[in-house]
Symmetry: C2
């Protein structure tokens, strides 16, 4: 087995397309320009016009927007298998920034690389469009969550979504996952204060639902947590390949 | 000139890709199965698994999610040139519903149609990925707006964004545009009550910024409105083709 068959990006796309040998080798070429980035140093800046995207293969990243008043809104977190800045390769300027939360490894991809890959295998284009659609569905869920869900349910929903995403690329199981996020990350993503995040996590732990401690999320009662969060994972669409 | 060269979808993609004759004829084929829908009757239901998308050629649509408590969150509005349910053609189930706000005309597109089009012209795949990325950038802007912008600025930003989108497909100019939205649509989209929408619109009108009356949005002072809303249209990325 080649290294690329193991890549989280390949694992993720395989949830949508049953990949052929040819498609796997096109994916391999997309992974050629491997780069490492250190925690805390932005890969792509909001407003930047350099047209490069990355496929994350190891580590965690957060994408955020800085408001004119200087406050930061975290848009989402990227985990292995996710694109970083697909929009910045297609749109003229990046509409947000990417900061590694841990040291990361990623493959650099240009617009020309994508175009070449799409020419070789149109199914791959559909798969990447699927992944982009799934990302948009997640942002929509966060929009709805911010508008409608109370803080406890919002946190529970968020921890379950992360778990489902990590499960898809093989770095979580139903008992939980390693998670490098701080309470400040959670606060900026969920529109809560750090103190409020603390209180919400204590409630969820004391209710026997989920424990987030020492860089690890443990699902204490997975089914009850899903019920509490009203979590329906259909929007993540990860039940197995649609295109055979 | 053929009808498809005039289609709003073609006009929109032309902002990203300088379309060749071959690409225009592939686009024509995507427009073959024309359908009409009446105001108020949903095209795609949340949870529906039929894999059909539409390219809107005439009229306005709103996409929304129904919460478990029965409340409706409007995710966005679709105008001519937009995809309806691109996600429902790619993901297994639709994560939201589409309701025509006016009578509409749209072309039906299946996953197979898309795959065939991508095989014929990979540049078109990139262009559609561009359009999907732009849609996601809009949802991110709405997320940020809901979290951070006061009601008056949120409304101003929303009316400017719609104006820019309509301008791209040739049905607005800098003085304003025809707009079939009701105050209930605005309320559900912006997270305000209908009474609050009324008050916000009165403020904006009395301040000489923008007037929304009798189905028409008039920009009374475009530059000052942009300043007031802190509207930076870079995320809409409509300054002319990137791929030549």
């Amino acid at each position: 087995m080649h290294a690329y068959e193991e890549s989280p990006f390949t694992r993720k796309l395989a949830a949508f397309v049953a990949l052929s040998k040819d498609e796997l080798s096109v994916l391999e070429r997309l992974h050629q320009r491997r780069r490492s980035f250190r925690v805390g140093i932005d890969l792509v800046h909001q407003g930047q016009s350099e047209q490069t995207a990355y496929i994350l293969s190891q580590g965690w990243v957060c994408s955020y927007k800085i408001q004119r008043d200087g406050t930061r809104q975290i848009v989402d977190f990227q985990i292995p298998g996710d694109f970083l800045g697909l929009r910045s390769v297609l749109l003229r300027t990046s509409d947000h920034s990417f900061e590694p939360i841990t040291d990361i490894q990623a493959a650099e991809v240009s617009a020309a690389d994508l175009l070449e890959a799409f020419a070789q295998t149109p199914r791959l284009a559909t798969a990447i469009l699927w992944a982009a659609s799934r990302d948009e569905a997640m942002v929509v869920e966060h929009l709805v969550g911010l508008g409608r869900r109370p803080a406890d349910a919002r946190m529970a929903h968020f921890l379950l979504e992360l778990g489902a995403r990590l499960l898809l690329v093989g770095i979580a199981d139903k008992s939980g996952y390693a998670c490098p996020l701080t309470q400040y990350h959670l606060a900026d993503a969920l529109g809560l204060s750090a103190v409020h995040v603390n209180r919400v996590l204590r409630h969820l732990r004391e209710d026997g639902l989920v424990t987030f401690r020492n860089g690890h999320v443990t699902f204490d009662d997975y089914d009850r947590l899903i019920d509490f969060a009203e979590f329906d994972p259909a929007y993540l669409d990860q039940a197995g390949p649609v295109l055979l």
